[in-house]
Amino acid sequence: MIRINLENLSENEIRYLAQEELENVNSLSVNEIIDLLKEKNGQTEIYEFPGTSMHKYLNSLSSTVTRLEELPGVKPVPESYNKTSLHLVQRSLNWAYAYWNISDFVLNDLDGKTYSLFLKVSSYNPSEKRITNFNSFLDKSVPSPISESDKILDSYEIYIDVNDRNWNIQLPWADRRYEVSLELEINNQINTLCTSNVIESFNSEIKKNPEILNNPNTYTILINPLLSKTGNIIKNTHIMELLTPPEVKNEEQD
């Protein structure tokens, strides 16, 4: 009998294991498979597989790396870093991932006080396309920094807990630069603790003009290469959104 924690397995492994236990595995999602296996096994995360061939999956679960030696003089990696800083990295066309550290100095100062922490997401005009006086080719690869003359076009706040260290940030407006700041509201005053790097949302032409796909030739040329042999479209929310009829979109919003 092999005892395996389902949550530790990859999708391939779960599907393969489930073949012996369930029918029509391919038509089920991984979560559905896990739920059915748990159901069979009395709602526990640990599933007992009777087959001897299932030894294979002990591989990924057995730690052969405990013997992996560290080099002399190294110290453990800290959980967080003692400097207040915030970074922003793009996750998709309209989502970003923000992560930050807050220094002990700031945290100690907040001890016992009433305060609020929030992220302020600010959007600005896109990078100036006519800039030519770059310091190096590297500068061309990043959005231009926010200058004093840049005006905030739109912004919104996300209130966070002092223990939070990351957040997924929506980028609601296309073709804009974004900056996120970590703000502390205390005694009716707002102080900016740190500000992120700048990222830029993309201006996708087809999202502005989806009706172009009403032309059968354009549809064939643009969409056919993205279809599977069973007619399923590539798994991408923006492409799927383009192909969703407006009435369905409205229903979803309702």
């Binding site: 530790n8 397995l9 990859s10 999708e11 073949q19 012996e20 029509n24 061939s53 030894h55 294979k56 002990l58 591989n59 990924s60 057995s62 790396v65 992996l68 030696e69 560290e70 080099l71 002399p72 003089g73 190294v74 110290k75 453990p76 990696v77 970074h87 990295v89 793009q90 996750r91 998709s92 066309l93 991932y97 992560y99 190096s136 080719f137 590297l138 061309k140 690869s141 790097n197 990222i199 993309f202 201006n203 996708s204 032409e205 087809i206 354009t218 064939t220 040329i221 643009l222 290469p225 993205l226 279809l227 599977s228 069973t230 590539i234 798994k235 991408n236 929310t237 923006h238 492409i239």
Partner: protein, 534 residues
């Protein structure tokens, strides 16, 4: 009408090298890929060449893979691995004698012996030279990719680090192949607008992007995915064809899932008694794949049919014909609408062929032979296409592809997964900041301090490998990936702290250089952004 087909194979494995152990589980990834994919692919191309078949393929050999293929310690370990497999093959021929498994056991033993002899005698224990020979005879175009296969869009904030990944790879390419590199494989097809400036600065002429990157681009791609586009600064981008590659790639209904092909999972390493298999697995009693697999996919059942190699071979031929049929049908429609010959870009991980899909190399051989006979089809490389289109003065659309990747969801979700790997970004960012700070504060050092800082640069690049995040998300060898990430951070922190107190830890340096010996000519000054200022 002519359908031009760019077939790009991305050969990559993370840098895994543990000279401190005689056998190390994760080193088997390289040995399996060598024995099951790279050597069979080279042998297949050799055979085509000998048969006078014209073909053109593009291979991206990642810098980490090239380093491992040229490593003496790993070469010796691979020879030991093959000797052990041949010994197991002989035992299997004896054990299966008189059973219906015997023919397969005999076949496996012969393939092992032929592969090993090809490696030792034809390649002289260096398959890189075989790739180089095929490239010099114009059969393949060799390209490179990011130094440690980092998922580049994550590091857009640090362009000097993106440049370090690209420049280090190109320096290694020039050293090994003694020529300039035209193409660059974007790891996981990860692209962000702006990346083209760094690629172009490093002399790169073309790259391949994900299937949805053009349709979501800043202009409507007039010819869809049937033609490359150019970014405003002159980088050619070849969009991958999702529909055709999906015929092979799809985990649910791709060719490799057919019931007559060999089952990847059923292997005597797991099926036979521990006493029998013990000498061929890892300590302490960690069962592994041995390559001796006797069952076919069959279906969703534990009662698998015995694998019939001849039936599977025939099926591979049928599937290659089916692939060509689909390609030509699509090409005809595209040509009618676009009024120009279509260009298809089909990219795959090289390890799919032979390793994950046992019959994949055979399928590829049938495909190449059929294409060679067909006047409507031509295998090309992206560099050939650029030459051809330039000669014809063909107007190429200027536009920017969208931020994209070939990972699930199409963007960065795989490498920024909230449940499994996004926590790494904070640590990696801090490490990058420290390395950049070191390069600025201690620029142009000499002697042992230079070696110390160069090792920090190696640790930073290794830390950035996209494989660690990928493995953590797929929950396959999570503990190993986590150990590697933390190990590289610890090493970098040690250099940072030592340099901050004006010292060099020589005991650490000697061991670190021996262990993580990748990129021997690295110059840590590439992390100094000031070096790029005009």
């Amino acid at each position: 009408m002519k359908n031009r087909i760019n077939l790009i194979l991305n050969a990559h494995l993370p840098f895994i090298r543990h000279p401190e152990y005689p056998k190390f589980l994760e080193e088997d990834w390289l040995f399996e890929a060598l024995n099951e994919s790279y050597i069979p692919l080279l042998r297949m191309m050799q055979k085509l060449k000998e048969d006078g078949i014209k073909f053109k393929l593009t291979f991206s050999l990642s810098p980490t893979l090239l380093s491992m293929l040229r490593d003496k310690v790993l070469n010796e370990k691979f020879c030991h691995y093959m000797e052990e497999k041949i010994e197991l093959g002989k035992m299997e021929c004896g054990r299966t004698s008189g059973t219906s498994f015997h023919a397969l056991a005999t076949l496996y033993l012969k393939i092992l012996e032929d592969n090993f002899s090809f490696y030792k005698d034809t390649c002289k224990s260096d398959i890189v030279n075989c790739f180089l020979t095929l490239s010099s005879k114009n059969y393949i175009e060799l390209i490179t990719t990011a130094a440690t296969h980092a998922f580049l869009p994550l590091y857009q904030e640090f362009p000097q680090v993106i440049n370090a990944q690209i420049e280090t790879a190109i320096i290694q390419y020039n050293e090994i192949f003694s020529k300039s590199c035209n193409g660059f494989w974007l790891p996981y097809c990860g692209y962000y607008p702006g990346l083209e400036h760094i690629l172009f600065h490093n002399g790169i002429k073309w790259t391949s992007v994900a299937a949805h990157s053009l349709i979501l681009g800043n202009k409507i791609p007039i010819k869809g995915n049937y033609s490359p586009i150019c970014t405003p600064n002159g980088l050619w981008c070849f969009p991958r064809d999702h529909a055709l590659t999906g015929l092979v790639w799809s985990a649910t209904n791709g060719y490799p899932t057919s019931s007559d092909y060999r089952d990847f999972y059923r292997d005597i390493g797991y099926d036979l008694s521990l006493d029998y298999i013990k000498p061929f697995i890892h300590e302490p009693d960690v069962r592994v794949f041995t390559g001796f697999k006797y069952y076919s996919v069959t279906g969703n059942t534990s009662k698998k049919r015995i694998y019939d190699f001849e039936i599977a071979k025939k099926l591979a031929e049928i599937h290659s014909n089916n692939f060509i049929y689909n390609l030509k049908t699509r090409g005809k429609t595209a040509e009618k609408i676009n009024k120009s010959d279509p260009i298809f870009t089909l990219s795959f991980d090289a390890e799919l062929f032979g390793h994950f899909w046992y019959e994949g190399v055979g399928w590829l051989e049938y495909l190449i032979r059929n294409i060679a006979k067909d006047k409507e089809l031509e295998l090309t490389t992206p560099s050939d296409c650029i030459d051809y289109l330039s000669r014809k003065n063909e107007k190429i659309q200027i536009m920017n592809p969208a931020y994209s990747s070939w990972g699930v969801g199409g963007f960065s979700q795989v490498w920024l997964d909230n449940e499994t790997n996004s926590f790494l970004m904070n640590h990696i960012t801090k490490a990058i900041e420290k390395m950049t700070d070191l390069a600025i504060r201690f620029s142009n050092q000499k002697s042992i301090t230079e070696r110390f800082l160069n090792q920090a640069a190696r640790e930073t690049l290794l830390l950035m490998s996209g494989d660690w995040q990928y493995i953590l998300r797929n929950k396959t060898s999570s503990e190993y990936a986590k150990k590697r990430v933390y190990g590289h951070i610890q090493n970098l922190n040690l250099v940072y702290e030592s340099m901050s107190s004006s010292s060099v830890n020589t005991a650490w340096l000697v061991k670190a250089e021996r262990k993580n010996n990748i990129f021997p000519h690295i110059d840590y000054n590439i992390f100094n952004r000031k070096n790029y200022e005009l």
